[in-house]
Amino acid sequence: MFSIEVTDLKKSYGSLKAVDGITFTVKQGEVFGLLGPNGAGKTTTIEIMEGLRERDSGEVKILGLDPWKDGYEVHKKIGVIPQEFTFFEKTTPKEAINYYANLFNVKVDADAILKEVLLDEMEKHVFESLSGGQKQKTGLALSLVNSPEVLFLDEPTTGLDPNARRAIWEVIRKLKSKGKTIILTTHYLDEAQQLADRVAIMDHGHIVAIGTTEEIIQQHGSGERLEIQGTQQLAKYIKENTDLQVEYNQIREKIIIPLKNKIDMLAALAAAEQSKMPWGEIQTLQDSLEDVFIKLINEPLGEQQEKEIEQKSNKKGRR
């Protein structure tokens, strides 16, 4: 059962393609992370799903409903924290919660909600006097008032202190355990790894990778590598005396050897020992989500060109 179905969604602002044909689904009870650099199109996508912006083309179904046409129905079933949440300046968080409860015609325990998002101390302060993080927490509190089935959280933890971030993670985990579907955007990749069942990485309006974080790392990462602390001479020695691919990072003084097989490690270390040169710490590493992210985002220009260059030189070689 899909809570969210997005098919070939497009939205342009003038000549700028903010969202350029994306397709994905989110299952009920799933936490789905939307990642991507500034301007990738995350907020545009989310606000179209919330029924706050009209799409140019494509299909969007939230709980089976069209969020633009059936906005009034959809809004009763979703909770939203917009990016940079703002509220009436002279209203306190507690008043805001009670206001929402009246609008949605539900009974809530405002104090309990405030406690849940760690805002109980500030319940009597008006919104304009709250700190950035406290404002964000007010947004989270309000998104919970109508017990939504689907939550859209656009950068809910940006600007929060570590404690508050973890508190919000707890809230999100609790919501997940209650079977809520959650769409989450964030610039913190550890947060995505911690919370999301699946993530999509967006760039320039496209989805460039989608899946569980492990899948994405496996598909787009460069596999395991060995790093040895040592000099450039040592790197050269290893390269000349094995058939391994060897790179050297001068700044970190690391010899980097991608491992095709685990056994390659033995060959590399044997060569190092044989060289009689000094060498330090050794480590085997794998690409993190962050490494993959940076690689994917920088790819469109950098790697694309590299590939083209590679292809051209290959053709020449064959001749």
């Binding site: 706050l52 609008l103 015609n105």
Partner: protein, 380 residues
């Protein structure tokens, strides 16, 4: 489906927020009172040119002996002469009208009637009297009778070396004495009925759009109509409070004469205190939503508001303004608020007030619906 629970919830949050804002309270309630104090002190007792209704019943004469000319009407000459004065502007009333009824119907308290035998008597040197209507105690009345007497003397001098041929009879009208302050109170009540909701909603419309608060609200079951209704209700309450405050200050500080004795008058006031804020809150919303950004919203808001502030009879009674401006005033919605308030509070003329209520009701309904239709919660 309009939900009163939601309207009340929004009303409560908005009111509490408003009361927490000191500037809002100052401009909403205190500022108009300060204006009353300032204008009341500056202008108490003073008047400029006054419009005055005149009826010329003079039948004229043909080929009078001793005076050349065919078909002379001295009544016309007299009124044209009066019109040259700097204090009076003559507005001719058809000779067929019942003059006293006409004055009442037009909420006027001064008037001149030239009798039928005026030319004949003047030509033949018989005494004849011009009737001047007015309440003796009112300041304009003094100006009118003084001016008319002055011109009567001038006519007497011209042909009869000053012997009194044309006299002046003063007929007191059953009208209350009205001072500048009496016009100022309804005028400034109109002013605050205009400015409070108008400026506030232009501002809110632009601000909520910029801060995405409309988007935020669109995610709740609150509808645009409910939201605007709640704002309208708030400004009705604020206007009622302002009304009581200003009337009290006017009466106790300046001894303003305000006619709120009968139930009929109080009932006639209520529509203005409801329709006025509804109209201008909606107009503010309309301006704020058609504008692309807060800056243009402010500019358009001022363009719409300022002419009304000065030309719709807020600071000066309309009768003191040039004729063409009086005509212009009729297209300004605020005109019907101030004129109506004047009709009720100054002249006690409920019939005329009902016409203002009808016009105002139509304008308000149109603007309210237009505002609800045109302002957007969401973006396209």
């Amino acid at each position: 489906m309009v939900s009163f629970k939601r309207i009340y919830a929004d009303f409560k949050v908005f009111s509490v927020g408003y009361l927490r804002n000191k500037y809002g309270l100052f401009f909403g309630l205190i500022f108009p009172v300060i204006l009353i104090l300032i204008f009341g002190a500056i202008f108490s007792g003073d008047t400029g040119t006054t419009d005055i209704y005149a009826q010329n019943k003079d039948e004229g004469i043909f080929n009078p002996e001793g005076i050349t000319g065919i078909g002379i009407n001295f009544g016309d000459q007299f009124l044209s002469a009066l019109n040259e004065s700097s204090t009076i502007r003559v507005v001719i009333v058809d000779a067929s009208e019942n003059f006293e009824d006409f004055l009442k119907a037009h909420s006027a308290e001064d008037g001149i009637v030239i009798p039928a035998n005026f030319s004949k008597a003047y030509a033949s040197g018989q005494q004849v009297n011009i009737t001047v209507y007015g309440s003796p105690a009112s300041s304009t009345s003094g100006i009118v009778s003084g001016t008319v007497s002055g011109y009567a003397n001038y006519f007497n001098l011209q042909h009869y070396n000053g012997s009194v041929i044309i006299g002046v009879t003063l007929t007191p009208l059953n009208a209350q004495q009205t001072n500048y302050i009496d016009f100022l109170i309804p005028g400034l009540i109109g002013f605050s009925i205009l400015t409070n909701p108008m400026f506030s909603l232009v501002n809110i419309a632009a601000d909520y759009k910029k801060n995405k608060l409309f988007k935020q609200l669109s995610l709740t079951p609150l509808t645009k109509m409910e939201w605007l209704t709640s704002k309208v209700l708030f400004y009705i309450v604020l206007s009622a409070a302002g009304f009581l405050l200003m009337v009290s200050v006017g009466v106790f500080a300046f001894g303003a004469h305000i006619m709120l004795s009968s139930l009929e008058q109080i009932l006639a006031l209520i529509p203005f205190l409801i329709l006025g804020p509804t109209l201008f809150a909606s107009l503010g919303m309309l301006v704020g939503s058609v504008a692309k950004n807060p800056e243009t919203a402010g500019v358009i808001g001022n363009i719409v508001t300022f002419p009304m502030m000065f030309l719709a009879g807020t600071f000066f009674p309309l009768s003191m303004m040039p004729k063409y401006l009086q005509t212009v005033a009729h297209v300004l919605p605020l005109f019907y608020v101030t004129e109506g308030l004047n009709n009720v509070m100054v002249y006690g003329n409920i019939t005329n007030a009902c016409i203002d209520i009808a016009v105002l009701g139509v304008i308000t309904a149109v603007i309210f619906l237009l505002a609800v239709k045109l302002f957007k919660w969401r973006e396209d």
